[in-house]
Symmetry: C2
Subunit: 268 residues, 2 copies
């Protein structure tokens, strides 16, 4: 990161000040008509400095930034946290803070996942985390038009692209209609191919929702990110040619690494 910051004195309306602090760097002053917290001005300053750097480069440690800008480490951490959430920085415990690569764009479309990733020039893999027949919880039952506690096959997978964890995906299927699909998935990587070839089922439409949730500690661990960081939760219900619901999928993507794109056309 550069050497000096531009702008004038910080420390806007409030707060006790250490009287004899060294000149240190400056974070931009608060503008007039708006209330701008110190951590936010620091964030803007850091954002600009980060813009000059390349992905993967390390930035100074929290303690260094704290002294350089003459603010507490808490304030530095608040600024860094927001830059992490926005996908500009990545932090690793014990290692440091680094400039993040740009976000990746994932298309919402009714085709094979594997196919999508490969089309973007990356190597798709997946790790089966869990495959079990369980009683349908109410949301799953509703989506699949089954009764609550009806047996459903749950398939939980960690999706990777170029070996980087990309999403945690849980698929639910009617365990009676798709008997044995759990075992079959132990040796197959494409659920859609399996549905087509073994169950003569083709998906023709889907409804997908997107919202923001936060990573639990275990989710954060699997996605190699921090607890409490925003994730994008995609849920998808897909129907076959007879308009029967076939799959209900919940996928969690890192919000700092992915954006989604949908193609819309005029309603018929």
């Amino acid at each position: 990161m550069g050497e000096q910051a531009e702008g004038r004195i910080a420390d806007a309306p409030a707060a006790a000040r250490v009287s004899d602090a060294p000149p240190a760097a400056r974070i931009p002053d608060a503008p007039i008509g708006a209330r701008v917290p110190k951590y936010y001005r620091l964030k803007q300053e850091l954002r600009q400095e980060i813009g000059q750097l390349s992905p993967g480069m390390a930035i100074p440690t929290e303690r260094v930034l704290s002294t350089r800008f003459a603010v507490s480490r808490t304030t530095v951490r608040q600024a860094l946290h927001e830059l992490v959430v926005e996908g500009q920085l990545q932090r690793f415990q014990g290692r440091g803070t680094f400039v993040a690569p740009p976000k990746l764009t994932q298309t919402l479309q009714l085709t094979s996942y594997t196919q999508d990733i490969a089309a973007s020039g990356r190597r798709p893999t997946s790790r089966l985390l869990d495959a079990a027949v369980v009683p349908a919880p109410s949301d799953v039952a509703t989506r699949l038009e089954l009764r609550v506690d009806a047996p459903v096959q749950r398939l939980e997978r960690l999706r990777l692209a170029d070996d980087e964890p990309m999403a945690i995906e849980a698929v639910y299927l009617d365990a009676e209609r798709f008997a044995g699909v759990g075992d079959a998935m132990l040796h197959s990587s494409s659920l859609y191919a399996l549905l087509r070839e073994q169950y003569a089922t083709v998906l023709v439409r889907a409804e997908e929702t997107i919202e923001t949730v936060l990573a639990s500690p275990s989710e954060a661990g699997m996605l190699d990110t921090g607890t409490g960081l925003p994730l994008l939760l995609l849920t998808r219900t897909s129907w076959d040619e007879q308009d029967r619901p076939v799959e209900y999928v919940r996928s969690l993507y890192r919000g700092d690494r992915y954006r989604f794109v949908a193609n819309l056309s005029r309603p018929a």
Copy 2:
């Protein structure tokens, strides 16, 4: 997906303890194989209590929770913050913390915005924040297939539903092709109607992206939320029947209040 923690006493591996603290309430113990911070266990505990309450009801103040659970106010705030981000609580400076109403679902479709909201039984309004012809920044120029700095009409509106701020929307149009559209919008509320009636332009397809960003202080002010809270940024490029790009739109929605849904069909 998700996880649970049962159990008793808090204060897992670390931290100095006030020796004579009152019995206080308990937050669930940390489970074995995972590292679960105290604020996260508190969050889970609070999440459960909130589940029993109705939207709009007040919860205890930060200082009360702090003593009740025998943790610092910082820890309480971290737990509350995550519940706010997840849309379970709403905080208002000077007033208190309240149970939030459920998220609203907004459909991604190529029809009038106003129409969409009305269809969901709410009253759509909008406030024109700004209408100016400006030189196209590079991203706008790219999307509209214009040269950088070509004149574009910018229309910035605050969208409301039942008088609640819903989104900040900035639309960009080719100022030469749609000359006068800025003035016309002063007296019209529907851009799409205006395009159809005054410019004989009908939109037939669009590409929409969704990603997470954070609220700046001014955005937070307009959306009546907090600085640094996650927003969903939707960008949309729409094309007419001749496949010319017509509009480029950037909309910011509160991530704690909205989710989005898209309908997909088998690619042709």
